[in-house]
């Protein structure tokens, strides 16, 4: 899309494509969906689509629920706490160990990240309430898992509908055991996507973890270089390949939120000098709170691909003295040879390849730089549960004429891919096999398709290798039978 005529052509095609898919809907739904589909216009303050609105029923949305946002994203990775899926058995079962938030610990003894604890509601629990059962269940956890540091109660739909008082149970049991027990009201029907679950989970940390720490000293002696990693879930080790760079530049990471995180790290966070936010969508709430209450500034960063890493390292260093600024330059210099070698190896194989993305609340913009470092072009992107501030931030990443689809339905996504014919689609497990059957290479961009890390310089190497592997696999030559 180098020349203007090309861009205008693309915009016209997008418009036509959008009109075409809208025709398939009943009129009322077409009107609603029209607001979520569009084309980015250079110079606009957002991407021109509505977002964070209710999904229309019956359309095969890719979205999940508030429970998924709280248990699956924010709380689940805190490894030394037991997270109870409070309600029927399914929610905990489907989200059991599937998100790949790596951690180090002895599972079942001092770490619980890949276990499924549930109250497994039966009919009686619905009819008579389950507060008593919850109390008993916490007692049983204390007997069988004495080294747990705390417990969170992740509410599933029925909890909020039957009028249970999980806050009272949490208070009473917390007092009895002298432990942090956190009730989280993340019932799946709250809000319209995972997003409200993130917010509720953030608020629960504020109310049930931070407030208990008021006036307590830090566990360690503070330094001027204490920072935190916020909004990195350590998928395939992402937070580790990020942490190593921050430490190499002279910073000290006192907490990881929440990949490979611990209760102690959550508690220590208000002692940080600067909060570093990777996933803005899921953890801006707590960062703003810490800014207001403790005066801790926060900065967004992006560790996907060398261009963004370099810019981020420098932006982070700006908040510190020359020692750190020099540290950042040292890190940049140290990894220059590696990232040059990666680009030299993979760019010729990926140059000009077109990519369509559809991911959660951060990656639809954050990964774009990494693709561009490899000479690839993002021709379409959209968020499952982004808000308008995400689409505003996206304008800094996307080019004029990029197709934008918010809360895309599987119907729209298929039609768009059929028409646009990208060389790669990056989305989730529910989408993966659809596009592969169409003969389109695919990478899961939530779980890194069981690979990773993708963050940092070490992660960029893996990212480049994986994109090459997906696009240049010989299998795609065999889609059509020769007879």
């Amino acid at each position: 899309m180098s020349d203007n005529a090309g861009v205008e052509e693309v915009k016209a095609r997008n418009k036509e494509m959008i009109e075409e898919v809208l025709k398939a809907y009943p009129e009322k739904s077409a009107r609603k969906r029209a607001k979520h589909l569009g084309t980015h216009e250079e110079g606009k303050s957002d991407c021109g689509v509505k977002s964070n609105l209710k999904t229309i029923p019956g359309v095969m949305t890719i979205r999940g629920c508030a429970y998924a946002g709280s248990k699956g994203v924010v709380w689940g990775p805190i490894k030394d706490m037991v997270h109870i899926s409070h309600g029927p058995v399914g929610c905990g079962q489907y989200s059991w160990a599937s998100r790949r938030n790596y951690f180090v610990g002895t599972t079942g003894v001092d770490a619980f990240g890949t276990m499924q604890f549930t109250s497994d509601f039966q009919e009686n629990d619905i009819v008579f309430g389950a507060d008593k059962k919850l109390g008993k269940l916490i007692d049983e956890i204390e007997v069988l898992f004495p080294l747990n540091k705390g417990i969170s109660i992740q509410s599933e739909c029925p909890v909020g509908l039957i009028g249970d008082d999980i806050e009272s149970v949490s208070r009473a049991k917390g007092k009895q055991y002298g432990k942090t027990i956190v009730p989280v009201r993340c019932e799946g029907f709250r809000g319209i996507s995972q997003s409200l679950g993130h917010h509720i989970a953030n608020d629960a940390i504020r109310d049930w973890v931070f407030d208990k720490q008021t006036g307590k000293p830090a566990r360690f002696e503070s330094t001027p270089y204490d920072v935190t990693i916020i909004g990195d879930y350590n998928i395939g080790g992402d937070a580790w390949s990020s942490r190593i760079l921050l430490e190499e530049m002279g910073l000290r990471v006192i907490a990881q939120w929440s990949g490979d995180g611990t209760l102690a790290e959550l508690e220590s966070t208000p002692h940080a000098k600067l909060n570093l936010i990777h996933c803005y969508r899921s953890m801006n709430y707590i960062s703003r709170h810490m800014e207001e209450k403790y005066g801790i500034p926060w900065v967004e960063y992006n560790f996907f691909g060398p261009t963004k890493i370099v810019a981020s390292l420098r932006a982070i260093a700006e908040h510190f003295d020359d020692k750190i600024k020099e540290g950042a330059e040292r890190v940049i210099a140290k990894y220059q040879a590696l990232s040059d070698a990666i680009v030299a190896k993979y760019r010729p194989r990926l140059e000009g390849k077109k990519v369509m993305l559809f991911v959660g609340g951060l990656r639809p913009r954050h990964v774009i730089g990494a693709y561009e470092d490899l000479g690839m072009e993002i021709v379409g992107t959209g968020y499952e549960f982004g808000h308008n501030d995400d689409y505003q931030r996206t304008t800094q990443y996307v080019k004029d004429g990029t197709l934008i689809y918010d809360d895309v339905t599987s119907f729209e996504f298929e039609k768009f891919v059929e028409k646009v014919k990208p060389d790669l689609v990056g989305s989730g497990i529910k989408e993966k096999y659809i596009f592969q059957k169409m003969g389109v290479p695919f990478r899961q961009m939530h779980s890194w398709d069981y690979s990773g890390p993708y963050h940092g310089y070490d992660g960029f190497a893996v990212f480049a290798r994986d994109m090459d592997m997906a696009i240049n696999a010989p299998v795609w030559r065999m889609t059509k039978a020769p007879f």
Binding site: T107, D110, C157, P158
Partner: protein, 519 residues
């Protein structure tokens, strides 16, 4: 720096490098407030003890690592077995995202299902508006031949009435009046995914046979001598259904598969995405009332469905996921009896080949101790097969198995000298199993992917048989039913035993005298 462009390393090796291990050690000691190593080791050992087992089995409120899922998952499975059918789950939308992911991770296939996306206002007002709009949207976007409705626990707790809602939606023109919308209430707080399968299939059968929710006259049964076949909720459905069809065709049986997922979860990679493929036609689903009998491969998946079918005047026969020689004998002899067709020579030969294979290999399996867990019917089928291999089941556990399952399993075990040291655990979970494996060790464990955590902790080698299997690919394409299926299960078990034998004898100059080239 460990990373390099020549040979890119990922999480498997990257974090084992010195700079990362040092970084993580520092993180732990400085910021994690770790449990002292001695205390950790002490508690870790204690979790393996008899005392811990006793406390673990005293649980009444807490479930840990259960081997079951919830009803609507089974309802989605059942719905996808019918031609052009879109599963529609009424309730919160996150549930449907979970079902789709769960099936896609097992089958490595797309799974279509829609949700009515109920939110807080629907919790207060009820989900009628969501049903009305949802059916209209699903109908016009995805052009299904049928929409099969089930419910999440949210819709059940607030008491939404599917029958009334579907009627109202049709009156509002969401779908044509005559369009098929069978439904089933599938509360997640009752039973498990196998219950949901049963309820949803029963809903479909009742819909077609019993007058489509009072909108048409009930069908009148005119026996046509055909057989109906129901597979149940089955992780091997792709391979199994094809094998059953092959066997029926060899026998010349006239049959209808009620719920055939074998094509929709095995579509080709040829450039075209098929959202719908194969499945029982709606016409066949209706005409199935005329069959002389219905065979279910999984009793506990089809209890209510079979009641409805019996009430229509058919004979019903239910098996427990038959695996192996004798179970397959019984199955085929029933098919022969009900259809009046003889079991032909080619099948007789297949039987002989399986017996031959068992004779060749049973020395490696005979006397080995096994723990098994899974769905009620599957564990019964596998236990039966182990007994005929001369293996000794020691623990048989089913989180969604009840008293009837327990009695049936105990009766099966009592029938064989190899079953006399076995205990049966209904309603227990994989954390109970962990205690069992530590306190009463066995040689091998049979279960689904989650069993890998037990394998890691207890060092009991895991043989993957069950649902879901996320971390091995394509086994669902191979049958476990029929004599051919029995051979597949035999090989699966044997491969693990022999691999394990090699691993245990590979230490040079110490154990490798037994590292035999011929086994």
């Amino acid at each position: 720096m460990t990373q390099n462009a020549e040979k890119v390393i990922d999480h498997f090796e990257l974090f084992r490098g010195g700079e990362y291990t040092e970084m993580l050690a520092n993180k732990k000691c400085m910021f994690e407030d770790p449990v002292p190593a001695e205390r950790l080791a002490q508690v870790s050992e204690w979790t393996k003890s008899d005392e811990y087992r006793e406390k673990n089995f005293a649980r009444t409120a807490l479930t840990i690592n259960p081997a079951k899922a919830c009803q609507p998952l089974g309802a989605v499975f059942a719905a996808l077995g019918f031609e052009g059918t879109l599963p529609f789950v009424h309730g919160s939308q996150g549930c449907t995202a979970y079902y789709r992911s769960h099936f896609s991770r097992h089958f490595k296939e797309p799974t279509a299902a829609v949700s009515s996306s109920m939110t807080e206002d629907a919790a207060v007002l009820g989900g009628l508006a969501n049903m009305v709009d949802g059916l209209a949207n699903a109908f016009s976007l995805y052009k299904p031949k049928m929409i099969a409705v089930s419910t999440t626990c949210m819709a059940e707790v607030i008491g939404d009435d599917l029958n009334a809602f579907i009627k109202a939606s049709k009156e509002k023109g969401s779908v044509p009046m005559e369009f098929d919308v069978p439904f089933a209430h599938t509360p997640a707080f009752v039973g498990s995914h196998v219950t949901g399968y049963d309820n949803a299939l029963k809903g479909i059968v009742e819909h077609f046979w019993n007058g489509k929710a009072g909108t048409v006259p009930k069908l009148e049964r005119k026996a046509d001598g055909k057989l109906n076949f129901i597979g149940g909720f089955d992780g091997y459905t792709v391979g199994n259904m094809r094998e059953i069809k092959r066997l029926f065709d060899l026998m010349g049986v006239e049959y209808t598969i009620l719920g055939d997922n074998s094509d929709v979860w095995d579509t080709p990679g040829d450039g075209e995405f098929r959202m719908y493929d194969g499945g029982t036609t709606l016409e066949d689903a209706a005409n199935a009332i005329h069959a002389s009998a219905t065979i279910s491969m999984q009793e506990f998946c089809t209890e209510k469905t079979l009641n409805v079918i019996e009430a229509a005047g058919q004979e019903t026969v239910a098996f427990n996921h038959p695996v192996g020689v004798e179970a397959t004998d019984r199955f085929l002899m029933e098919v022969a009896r009900l259809s009046g067709r003889a079991i032909p020579d080619p099948i007789r030969k297949e039987r002989g080949r399986l017996v031959d294979a068992i004779a060749d290999s049973s020395a490696h399996i005979h006397g080995k101790k096994f723990a098994i867990y899974g769905d009620p019917d599957l564990t019964l089928g596998l236990t039966g097969f182990l007994l005929e291999l001369g293996a000794e089941p020691v623990h048989v556990l089913s989180t969604n198995g009840g008293t009837a399952w327990k009695e049936k399993t105990e009766a099966l075990l009592a029938n064989s000298p190899f079953g006399k040291n076995c205990h049966v655990y209904p309603g227990k979970d994989l954390w109970h199993m962990r205690s069992l494996l530590f306190t009463e060790p066995v040689d091998f464990l049979i279960g689904n992917t989650y069993g890998k955590f037990l394998e890691r902790d207890t060092k009991t080698p895991l043989i993957r048989l069950g649902f879901p299997i996320f971390d091995r690919h394509h086994h669902h394409r191979y049958p476990v039913w029929g004599y051919q299926g029995g051979l597949n299960v035999l090989v699966t078990i044997l491969d693990k035993i022999l691999d394990h034998m090699d691993q245990n004898t590979s230490e040079v100059a110490k154990t490798d005298y037994s590292f035999d080239i011929i086994r």
